[in-house]
């Protein structure tokens, strides 16, 4: 917790006076707009690639969904993008018990839902109860349990909330930053009909007038497959103000177009139909840049603003009981290092991402700068070193077709060719190209890589197969997600978990895996940020030693916006993590 913020918030309360809302003031440093520059009114138009599925905040599962747009992340705490620290938002502050298990929040007074009803501890409690009910099937369900033990919430009066954690958790505050949904709407239904009643609520055909939000926006219209329209929540501005005391959001509303085709999405931005755009390929970036350069479009484009929060990698299967030769090869750390040295990350960035990308060397995404250990060993493209490493494990000579064959100490594998199949999912161009590129550089070193893309579901099935004999050789895929508080996956790092992709025998096979598992839990139970970062570094060092996964590269984040819109982030916080703007501080220039 942060004492300075508690004081600031208290000051704000005093200033606001009695009977009025306790105001959360949005710092000027979160926007490039000059004080007083922003004008109220206007509609921000954006787009999303997939259709909206539901209005129900408890069952929604899409990446971009209507409840999230309405709420815009409103919760007890939020991150300050300039410091990456959590600060009070719907609360005025919190205390943590000495054992680190009990969090007590002071809920901000004077907050209201878009229908004018006050927001109190009841709303938080009801939201928690519904999310933690397994019968509802909420995506937020797993977050409420730590090793199968539940987090317990308790209301201490209308404006105090207590959360008791079963064990210390580094992500406790992130978990407690959940958005409350109205108890006066969901509570009675949940009490009467339970989970089934909740699941039936707020479908796409529900009239927008019945939808209520705690956040800056509330739905005002939805046209199936076409767009969703939002208007501002008039009560939000009572407790959210800029430094001049103007109510937020500035915007009257927001429209999100559903554009399934990436070219149509680009065309919408180029023609001025949409205000914001995040081009994902160099061709799209280049089109925007050329349109701006030719004076056809008045817009701002930030090329290579930061890496995105995802990366692509190759994982080798350690569980190949029916092919002891490949199992022996894949389990050999020298082989994996050699493969890392046969990965031409520079060419990948150059050809696949058209120069707008970043090479990756470890499991922490490069965008999470505070978490990336700058000193981890990097195995750059070096075919000679790779050849030496391969020779050291027995691949010295080549057969008549030029492929390396085994002539090492193990008699049963004599003369076997170094050949394996690399798969990825069909339809993902960038992955397919990365795989083709790897196959080519490997070929030049005499390693035969057969590239065969398969259907996504098949790929996942293969990757997640358990046991000592799994049905693939090597897979090229990417993961995304991962928090700011502890960026290692709870079911990725520890042995025996679902996404411990290289070894799914159920137990650790190497001392490094055992160490990484221990470090994962240790870090996750360390509340002090600096200590946690050190544990993270140690984890990355261990991982680099083992090279269980060959990280390749990831694309860049290149946000663009029409110059009609103001109030974007200053360049220092214009990253994939924080985005290009705070919607609350965004305004339309007159």
């Amino acid at each position: 917790m942060n004492k300075r913020w508690l004081i600031l918030a208290t000051l704000a309360v005093l200033g606001a006076g009695l009977g009025q809302a306790q105001v959360f003031t949005w710092p000027q440093k979160w926007t490039v707009a000059k004080p007083g520059e922003a004008t109220p009114g206007g509609v921000l138009v954006g787009s999303t690639i997939s259709d909206f599925r539901t209005l129900n905040p408890f069952t929604t599962a899409e990446a971009t969904n209507i409840p999230t747009i309405m709420a815009n992340g409103v919760g007890l705490a939020r991150y300050d993008p300039t410091t990456a620290q959590q600060i009070p938002w719907m609360s005025t502050g919190w205390t943590v018990s000495n054992n680190g298990l009990v969090f007590t929040f002071d809920i901000r007074k004077g907050m209201k839902f878009s229908d004018g009803q006050p927001i109190t501890s009841k709303d938080f409690i009801t939201t928690w109860k519904i999310q933690a009910d397994e019968k509802v099937g909420s995506n937020a369900y797993d977050g409420w349990y730590i090793a199968d033990k539940p987090i317990i919430l308790k209301a201490l009066g209308d404006y105090k909330l207590q959360a008791t954690f079963p064990s210390i958790s580094a992500t406790a505050l992130e978990q407690m930053s959940f958005t409350p949904w109205p108890d006066h709407i969901f509570g009675p239904v949940y009490a009467k009909e339970g989970a089934d009643g909740i699941k039936k609520m707020w479908s796409l055909t529900t009239p927008p007038a019945q939808i209520v939000s705690a956040g800056p926006f509330v739905l005002s219209g939805y046209r199936p497959g076409e767009r969703a329209e939002f208007k501002k929540n008039p009560y939000y501005g009572e407790w959210n103000k800029d430094e001049q005391g103007n109510p937020l959001p500035y915007l009257d509303g927001q429209t999100v177009l559903i554009v399934k085709d990436t070219n149509a999405d680009l065309a919408a931005f180029l023609s001025g139909k949409t205000d914001t755009y995040a081009p994902s390929t160099v061709d799209q970036v280049s089109q925007v840049k050329q349109a701006i350069g030719a004076g056809n479009l008045k817009a701002t484009l930030k090329v290579n603003a930061s890496p995105v929060a995802s990366s692509q990698f190759i994982v080798f299967n350690w569980n190949k009981a029916d092919n002891p030769f490949l199992q022996m090869v894949f389990r050999n750390v020298s082989f994996r290092r050699a493969m890392s040295e046969l990965t031409d990350r520079k060419a990948a960035v150059d050809l696949v991402y058209g120069g707008l990308g970043f090479p990756t060397y470890g499991s922490v995404y490069p965008v999470l700068k505070q978490w990336v250990d700058p000193n981890i060993p990097r195995y750059e493209y070096d075919p000679k070193a790779a050849a030496q490493l391969l020779a050291s494990i027995g691949f010295r000579s080549k057969d008549k077709d030029g492929w390396l064959v085994y002539s090492g100490s193990d008699k049963q594998f004599q003369g076997k060719r170094l050949e394996f199949t690399l798969t990825t999912n069909t339809g993902n161009n960038q992955r397919e190209q990365l795989a083709q590129l790897f196959a080519k550089t490997a070929k030049e070193a005499g390693v035969k890589v057969n590239f065969a893309p398969v259907d996504f579901n098949t790929l996942v099935g293969q990757l997640l197969a358990k046991g000592d004999n799994r049905p693939f050789d090597a897979i090229l895929i990417g993961l995304s997600g991962g928090g700011l508080a502890w960026p290692f996956g709870q079911n990725v790092v520890p042995c025996g978990t679902n996404l411990h992709m290289y070894n799914k025998s159920g137990s650790c096979l190497t001392p490094q895996e055992t160490l990484m598992t221990a470090l994962y839990f240790k870090g996750n139970q360390t509340l002090d940020f600096k200590q946690r970062v050190q544990i993270g570094y140690q984890l990355q060092q261990t991982e680099a030693q083992l090279q269980p996964i060959i990280y390749i590269a990831g694309p860049a984040y290149n946000p663009a916006w029409n110059d009609r819109t103001g109030g974007n982030h200053p360049d220092s916080i214009l990253t994939a993590t924080w985005g290009s703007r705070e919607t609350e501080l965004t305004f339309i220039k007159k």
Binding site: Q287, K289, A347, L351, L356, T421, N429, P453, V454, D455
Partner: protein, 457 residues
């Protein structure tokens, strides 16, 4: 068939000659045929006409999206004529457009050589003859990109030539499959409409009938077995539905319905056989397949075959799927025509004279549908070439290392507007698709008029 007087008058000429003379009158058709001949020739001898193997590229130096190589006939400085030559190019990155830009290195001229041997890039013709003789080539480090290169820096011309092998073959093979199915099923359906086929034993009725051979018994037993399985399935389904029921009334309804269904099965097994018109059967099948929009049928069927380990297998799969999708409409149309034809006087007359069904179908009915078949066949081959590109657009078509025009066009589409403004040469595969489809259509049109005696001039 009633022959027209015109056709009778020219009987002195051979049939082939008449067709050829008629065909030649159709100017567009002749042009189409010529273009097709060139395209198929290029595809057949792709190894010879290509400059590089289709998947050849280098990473250093990289030639990503290099424009078509400028071929010089005159020295740019002196203006003197010479044999055609090119310059080597160097890649640069244009920071204004964020696209590749290439500059020529004018220090050395690299003459274009004809009929070169490229031992490092051998190829095979029809998988039988091995060779390394190519029509064109230049010495390294210069590169000859007749139509530019793709993002890896692979020669687009070579890929187009090889892609033609896939695209052009798919058209013909798929059309052949759907026509065999369509003609067969449509013909049978139309011709036998009205006759009824027994689908279940109906023991009582059967036993009352006259003589019975061993084959009859075998059929009866097989049918009984099949219906036995149906009976078991009915019982099983009823039990499950009863188990899933939430209240007593529902349970009772399911039991009653189950018993009724079982009684029905017993009735058609023991008492009255279930008779079905083959026309109904086939047309219902057409309806079932036709009910599913082509696009979704294709995608869903394609998804059934996930293990796309062999790209060659994918190729045959695409052919089979496209062929399978196409036959329904053809069958329905053929049936419509046959229905009308079999009532025609000359068919009725042939039947009355005791001609066998087979003879009537082959001699009288099928020839009369020829006009329709040729029209639709010539229309459907380009349709399948388009279908292949549609599948590629969805990422369900041919996979690397094979290539097709559809796949090449898809990568142009993926590039979006940059393909138009920054590297228009990647659109060239589209031109080939365009040419092939147009030519097939023109040729089909010409063939149609040429084959049909009634439409001659």
């Amino acid at each position: 068939m009633v022959r027209s007087a015109q056709a009778g008058a020219s009987r002195s000429k051979s049939q082939g000659r008449i067709v050829w003379e008629q065909f030649r009158k159709h100017r567009l058709a002749v042009i189409g045929a010529a273009i097709l001949a060139v395209l198929y020739l290029l595809a057949a001898f792709a190894g010879f006409f290509s400059v590089y193997t289709p998947d050849y590229y280098t990473l250093s130096p990289s030639y990503s999206y290099a424009p078509p190589t400028h071929v010089y006939w005159r020295d740019p400085q002196t203006g003197a004529w010479s044999r055609p030559f090119v310059y080597a190019i160097n890649r640069q990155f244009d920071l204004n457009t964020l696209q590749n830009a290439y500059v020529e290195d004018r220090s050395t001229k690299y003459p274009i050589r004809f009929l070169v041997r490229t031992p490092e890039h051998p190829y095979s013709l029809f998988k039988i003859f091995h060779s390394d003789l190519r029509l064109l080539g230049v010495a390294a480090p210069a590169r000859l990109f007749l139509m530019g290169s793709d993002n890896f820096g692979r020669d687009l011309w070579s890929r187009v030539v090889y892609g033609g092998q896939v695209s052009l073959t798919i058209g013909i093979l798929s059309a052949a499959i759907s026509f065999v199915l369509g003609l067969l099923l449509g013909g049978v359906s139309g011709f036998y409409q009205g006759t009824r086929l027994s689908l279940s034993p109906g023991w009582y009725t059967w036993l009352l009938e006259g003589t019975k051979g061993a084959g009859g018994w075998l059929v009866m037993l097989a049918l009984s077995l099949a219906w036995g399985i149906v009976g078991v399935a009915v019982v099983r389904a009823t039990l499950e539905l009863v188990r899933l029921s939430t209240n007593g009334l529902e349970r009772v309804i399911w039991i009653i319905l189950g018993l009724l269904a079982l009684a029905l099965v017993l009735r058609i097994v023991l008492w009255r056989p279930l008779k079905i018109d083959p026309d109904d059967l086939i047309m219902r099948l057409v309806e079932i397949i036709g009910a599913i929009p082509t696009l979704f049928l294709l995608i869903s069927l394609r998804a059934v075959f996930p293990l796309t380990l062999s790209p060659l297998f994918v190729f045959y799969l695409v052919v089979g799927l496209l062929g399978f999708i196409g036959w329904g409409g053809i069958a329905r149309n053929i049936r419509g025509q046959v229905l009308s034809l079999r009532e025609q006087d000359y068919v009725v007359a042939a039947k009355a004279q005791g001609a066998s069904d087979l003879r009537v179908i082959i001699r009288h009915i099928l020839p009369a549908t020829a006009s329709y078949v040729i029209v639709v066949l010539s229309l459907s081959i380009p349709g399948f070439i388009l279908g292949e590109s549609g599948l590629s657009f969805l990422g369900l078509g041919i996979t690397e290392p094979y290539t097709s025009w559809g796949l090449l066009l898809k990568s142009a589409q993926d590039g979006g507007f940059a393909s138009f403004t920054n590297r228009p040469w990647v659109l060239i595969p589209g031109v080939f698709i365009f040419l092939a489809i147009l030519s097939w259509n023109f040729m089909g049109d010409g063939l149609r008029d040429a084959f049909d005696p009634r439409k001659r001039r």
